[in-house]
Subunit: 206 residues, 4 copies
Amino acid sequence: MMKTDRIQAFSDGIFSILITILVLEFKLPDGYVQGNLLQAVLQQWPTLVAYVMTFTYIGILWLFHHDMFSCVQRIDARLNILNLSSIFLITLLNYSMSLLAESLVTLNTRDLQFALTFYALLALGISMSYFAFYHYLAHKPSLLASSRYQLQFRRLQRCPLLSSSIYFAALLAANLKVYAGLIFLVAGILFHGFAYWRAVRHTVTT
Amino acid sequence: MMKTDRIQAFSDGIFSILITILVLEFKLPDGYVQGNLLQAVLQQWPTLVAYVMTFTYIGILWLFHHDMFSCVQRIDARLNILNLSSIFLITLLNYSMSLLAESLVTLNTRDLQFALTFYALLALGISMSYFAFYHYLAHKPSLLASSRYQLQFRRLQRCPLLSSSIYFAALLAANLKVYAGLIFLVAGILFHGFAYWRAVRHTVTT
Amino acid sequence: MMKTDRIQAFSDGIFSILITILVLEFKLPDGYVQGNLLQAVLQQWPTLVAYVMTFTYIGILWLFHHDMFSCVQRIDARLNILNLSSIFLITLLNYSMSLLAESLVTLNTRDLQFALTFYALLALGISMSYFAFYHYLAHKPSLLASSRYQLQFRRLQRCPLLSSSIYFAALLAANLKVYAGLIFLVAGILFHGFAYWRAVRHTVTT
Amino acid sequence: MMKTDRIQAFSDGIFSILITILVLEFKLPDGYVQGNLLQAVLQQWPTLVAYVMTFTYIGILWLFHHDMFSCVQRIDARLNILNLSSIFLITLLNYSMSLLAESLVTLNTRDLQFALTFYALLALGISMSYFAFYHYLAHKPSLLASSRYQLQFRRLQRCPLLSSSIYFAALLAANLKVYAGLIFLVAGILFHGFAYWRAVRHTVTT
């Protein structure tokens, strides 16, 4: 059995690195001509959009991850593997962000559809990994710091199910009407923020 | 309610990553010819200037961030969101640094004006986020480790207000006389260092 | 004598950074033409294969590293040097991963043989460093948190010996039949996962 | 007064990030032709030399930094500024490493002289910052965890003075006979390792 603090430190490290290296995406555009820095930077608004989205998304994922593990007292091998799998998908957000930024520059419909599909699929996978977390913990009271958390995790399961369906809608929408896909994707991320806000209010206070 | 140590570890992680990856900006210049390494490196002095500035700036921001959270005992959702927003702006310093370095190479007036404006705007936003921190904490004694800190945060509010006005001056100055903008920007960062020095002397000692 | 928690935090930091920066390998392919993003990304499957492999590998190495140090109470200079050497080899996995990804793109037999040989050699070295860890700790009861762990480390020695021979087989196989080399390499990594699963079940529970 | 654990965590974070991102220097060489991966990688031996050197160097600097702060109980503003300055120089090692690797590829004498001079200057500065650490702590017993450490820091002052003179010799040698410069530089780093080994043996054991 692993103690919680180390897996939490390891995961926190990955979250903080991931959220920080996103900024490396901001590079001086290739087509930059002297005296045109303002225009060159303004043309990078897609990167800014994708950055704000992904920064917010990873930030909220960290908040949920953090709160979940603060209710966990012991880690077994299954939880460890689940955690590594979840983090694996989350690190790929760096890639999906740069694909989205790139296709928002060219505004090519097919590219944009693919980038949104890829991002939504990834988000769907991440939501499903959080569902697996909550489901597993709700059925493993021996890992929890208090038996009160069992009910809490059972209730929390609805959140990733709901966000999964939003991301699934984004997936479908993107391939019908590109901008609808983007709106659903943003909605999914905002939903996480809203869900966190509500969860915090209903959490058993220490 | 989140415990302070985890949000602090997460933020410390981001600060230390951000301050370290700044050095990735130093790359061998493209126009480098064999036997000319010295000249090629000397031509990178703008990167060094921007690097020293930004490293110092982030270092001091960390000192303030650290000291602030060492007075905080509990974190609520608002403080969490405020922290993520503040850190979001701080990570963008990596980008503003590379824009400044680039425009100090070409010395193109328009580019330099824009790079300084962007940097000053970002610094203004960061100062305002620190003002929001102090203001919020001064009115939320329930989050503080000791009620003595309430007065301290109320007094500290002046610092980011003052630095905000320096950065606002930098913003205006940059668009009138480029070098004046740079001087004000550096002055703002030096002011933080000075303010930290003073704050440390007046802090309630543990 | 160094306390365990700091060397563990330092090593955890390196593991989490290394596992996160692997994702920087995913970049938009050079030959990307507008409207072809899907094809361009699909052609990056070798990077995905190498990424999944290396992420899993580093993840499992971290699990073993973590569990080992949770049995260690004190660190001497030799263990410190051993740890830095082991981590040195592990950081090079980033490089071997990109070589493997690159040669899976071109599918050039000679390149693929070299990339697999390099990866297998590295994995061999890493396994040998873990053998050195277990061997050293099994003979230094003064460093352990409990004398029970001495026997445990003696038993654990077999794991890196076994994986070393798998990686040695991968080395030979790669130079005879390329795909056999890849299969042995993947088998070595899966073996680690299997060994961890077994080790966790037999570990003295706290 | 800042507690030691946070500044240590922040510094440890920077050390572990810095030592990990060194590996990003290993990139597929530009002149790489299909089927020539082995030759292309073999031509990167300079990067490997510079990498091993710098990894070892930063590793030992961390060991000294770690041991120093484990004797410190409280941090004042001066120690904080000293620490940030020291770390500033250490992060620049990433840059000096890539300059050295580059000039070992071309083997151009003038470039190599400059790269070695730059590296030696940086190492000189880092040694001087460690001297400043020890000197400051030897005269500030109020910051130490035990008064016994005062004598220890006074004795430790000789180490950075000695390594400074080795790096100064490297500086001079590099500009007379290039390879002598490289040998002195490596000697300086090996000296740190040797000094650490000796220091560990003479340290007051907890």
